[in-house]
Symmetry: C2
Subunit: 191 residues, 2 copies
DNA sequence: GTTGTCTTCGTACTTAGTACGACTGGCTTG
DNA sequence: CAAGCCAGTCGTACTAAGTACGAAGACAAC
């Protein structure tokens, strides 16, 4: 007899993907299972299959959601600034979803937001007067740079200089004497 | 009563990882399961656990194996050339193991070969006279560039220009009219 | 009221990782 | 040579996860 008190009890693909992103943000990508997702949505696993094709579709959808979060620069921004705007936004987005970069790189079915983002960047570079060859290189570079940066941040999931210093020291001590000197110096210098 | 006719019937961690890489090369990373690996080695799943700690350890080990395949440049090569040598080698290696890049980015326990590689590149850049700040940027760039390139190659798993052209056309036709013009032009131009 | 469709979900099958404990063949120690 | 230890091997079985199948409920159109 309990009637529907909360709004939007009806499930939709959007709600499923929202919950998936929220769950991944909260508990990591490994915790994103059909069953956990169903629990999150207060329903049962098989219910989800009427809104998404399966686990893979959820992952694809989630990746596209992340792309969609990247902010479009205002249309009147000049090329270089527009690209910069996108990169900064992408970095912020990826920092909010540290589980995302590896996923983005392993999925191969790009969604609409993904395509739109690529389209915009390519068009921007192209308008800058680069030929296709250069666009290709510049694009790979940008993409890789943003990802690389995000990955680096993601794999250093702690904050506060003191904590970093402590960890670095622990790592250094764990190495055999004289091993990886440059790496160690890099680590200790760069934080 | 069948005695050991083939050499090296005894299992070892090395043999397990060898088989794991071979299996991934042949059937993709998704097919790399404990059971399949056991079959490949003509044994039973639980046997593997006396040589590796578990699935994750296998993945970590496999990643380090890939790093180990990257060729060390001769010691007398000048800095720029040494780096180039490594990048070229890395690209070749990653092309042989198209499943590797996403794995490399998602694992977080670097093995010895991984560390040695990073160490060498950092030392090389450092010897080039860059300060730490620049080293950090150059390093991220290099790393990301090689990965990005490998990923791009990996996600276009077909050969032959005709085939590519056909696929490109199919993609173009699948898009709504007028969508992603730059992306499409890029695709058709760049192949 | 009957019928059809959309949504929900109970049940159960399948694949995968892995804990537990038994067996075994060889090597050590007396 | 006998007794026992032990690393390596596996049979069995439990758990978690994805998902196929079909029944049950809600609701709209006739």
């Amino acid at each position: 007899m309990a009637t529907n008190t909360e709004p939007m009890r009806r499930l939709t693909r959007e709600r499923v993907l929202d919950a998936a992103v929220a769950l991944a943000d909260r508990s990591g990508i490994a915790a994103l299972t059909i069953r956990a997702l169903a629990t999150e949505l207060d329903t049962k696993p098989m219910t989800l299959y009427h809104h998404v094709a399966g686990k893979d579709a959820i992952l694809d959808g989630v990746v596209d959601r992340v792309f969609a979060e990247i902010d479009d620069p205002p249309a009147d921004l000049p090329g270089r600034e527009a690209i910069r705007h996108r990169c900064v936004s992408a970095r912020t987005v990826l920092r909010h979803h540290p589980w995302a970069p590896p996923l983005m790189e392993s999925r191969q079915n790009p969604g609409p937001a993904n395509l739109a983002h690529h389209e915009a960047v390519l068009a921007c570079l192209r308008r800058g007067g680069l030929d296709w060859q250069l666009v290709a290189h510049a694009y790979a570079l940008l993409d890789a740079f943003v990802y690389g940066f995000a990955l680096q941040e993601a794999s250093l999931p702690f904050e506060g200089t003191a904590e970093i210093a402590g960890l670095a020291e622990a790592m250094v001590n764990a190495f055999p004497d004289g091993a990886y000197p440059t790496f160690i110096e890099f680590t200790t210098q760069h934080v």
